[in-house]
Amino acid sequence: MNWRAIFAIVRKDLKIVLQNKGVLIPIIAVSLIIFGALPWVSVLAPSMVNMGGTSLEQLNALIAQMPAGLQNQLAPYTAEQQTVIFFLVYLLAPMFLIVPLMVATVIAADSFAGERERHTLETLLYSPTTDRELFIAKLLSSWLAAVFIAFIGFLLYIVMANAAAWSVIGKIFFPNWMWMVLVLWVSPAAAGLGLGTMVLISGRARGFQDAYQTGGVVVIPILLLMFGQLTGAMYFSIGVVILIGIVLWAIDIVLIWYGGRVFRRGRLIARS
């Protein structure tokens, strides 16, 4: 493996992304909303609509429908603390996955479809790299960026969640083990899902915009997880989170294996 060449391509892709407002702005905006603003909204909103005490009751009614495992987790806390923990720890957990997924999708769209659109792919094909090295380089640039931003976002979220909940909980309660698994095991897989999908789409997409818009479908599984938890069908226990990770990694492997088979100089140039 020619790692020097691989990292030259990674560096190039990331430098270009840093210059591209169309890519940077959605990444920064979504990350700030999810990690910076949502913790405050979820803590303040219930207490603001809490005038007649109905909201808190409704939320506790919702929690009462949750699986027994989640109720056990919440049992030691007061009713008010329970709602906050339910929001910050459980409901927002699937939201967290949107960030690596989206970052990987946007950057991969730029790195695969955008590169072809700019005609710079051809020049890259004339470099002394193998097809596999090129493919790995292209995967790495979006995957590394997505995982990096997810980790930074997690640190931000630790601060924001504890700060927002301080008045209710009065101690540092976050993160728990489930979140550690979520961040370290599942979020890299979520990045892989965005990336793998984009690899498949980019071959047929006309350009960056086209690829990116079509790639939006990858948030559907995340929405399903959110919905599943809201209805009490399941909750983000450590076991479930590990399982989600396994499923995502398996999908990643299939997508990337297939993408790698199709990623051949001859095909890429014939399409350009």
Binding site: Q19, T120, Y126, S127, G266
Partner: protein, 317 residues
């Protein structure tokens, strides 16, 4: 005898029903500037892609620097440099970053990267703009930067696809001087795809002419001119008032000429069948007591070869 840098035998590439390159066999010698000519869609770019292992052939064999481009792709590409048609650079990056990234891609020794990049930027007159983004560059600056990138790793075989398109005459002249210099002084092999026949004639040791994927002629420009140019313009300057008499005198020689004589700059221009026609015509004029001040054949060019080949094709069809 010089060794061959590129050997191609019976190379064919199809896209669907279309044959982009059709049974092409050529040999390019080390250190020569080899012109690859042909109309739009003749198969030039497709050939360059196959020679570098970027596109697979349907049949035939290729050896570049003794290597097979498909099995030895990376090793081969480390020793070739390709300036593509679109000369695509990363517009959002600076000139220097463009070169630094490609220095890593092409494994330029780490301790030499900075100096090499600086030297090239200076050489191509981009020293001042090295840290500006390429999107602010003019076409000429971009083309020069692309050339710098092509030469970054000192390639032994250099493929240039239309290197002077979009350049002003001065810039084009500089690029052509560089191409000659690379071949003559550095012993590099240059494979030059171009439509510009005047340039090709000046620069190339040998040229190949492609038509619809087929090789239709190959040789030195001089050979090709001798072989293919069947018409020659001859300008005749007679003593004042003798032009009509000269026309009459030449009337019996119609088998040696094409079309009617034309008046140009107060002289007479005839299109004749070749050099051999000149003494015959002169004879006729002298026998008829026409006073000739000057009789000058126009030196035919590669352009004439090109049109001759084209006409040949037309008459065959």
């Amino acid at each position: 005898m010089k060794s061959a840098a590129i050997t191609v035998k019976n190379l064919t590439r199809r896209f669907g029903d279309k044959i982009a390159v059709n049974d092409l066999s050529i040999e390019v010698e080390t250190g020569e500037v080899f012109g690859f000519l042909g109309h739009n869609g003749a198969g030039k770019t497709t050939t360059v892609r196959m020679l570098n292992g970027v596109l697979e052939a349907n049949s035939g064999s290729i050896h570049v620097l003794g290597m097979d481009p498909i099995t030895d792709g990376p090793a081969l590409r480390a020793r070739t440099g390709v300036l593509t048609e679109t000369a695509a650079l990363e517009l959002r990056l600076t000139a220097r970053d463009n070169l630094l990234i490609y220095a890593d891609l092409f494994s330029v020794p780490r301790d030499k990267v900075q100096t090499r990049v600086r030297e090239l930027l200076e050489f191509f007159g981009l020293g001042e703009s090295a840290d500006q983004r390429v999107e602010t560059f003019s076409t000429g600056m971009r083309q020069r930067l692309s050339l710098a990138r092509t030469l970054l790793h000192n390639p032994e075989v250099i493929f240039l696809d239309e290197p002077t398109s979009g350049l002003d005459p001065v810039a084009a002249h500089q690029v052509n001087a560089l191409i000659s210099n690379l071949a003559e002084e550095k012993g590099r092999t240059v494979f030059l795809c171009t439509h510009n026949l005047v340039e090709a004639q000046k620069l190339c040791d040998r040229v190949a002419v492609m038509e619809h994927g087929r090789l239709v002629a190959i040789g030195t420009p001089t050979d090709l001119i001798q072989q293919y140019v069947r018409r020659l313009d001859v300008e005749i300057e007679t003593a004042p008032g003798q032009m009509d008499a000269a026309l009459q005198a030449l009337a019996p020689a119609s088998s040696l000429t094409f079309g009617l004589p034309r008046h140009t700059n107060g002289n007479l221009t005839l299109t004749v069948t070749g050099r051999e026609a000149i003494p015959e015509l002169l004879n006729l004029l002298v026998q008829n007591h026409i006073r000739i001040y000057r009789m000058s054949p126009h030196q035919p060019t590669l352009e004439d070869v090109y049109f001759a080949l084209h006409d040949e094709k037309e008459t065959v069809q």
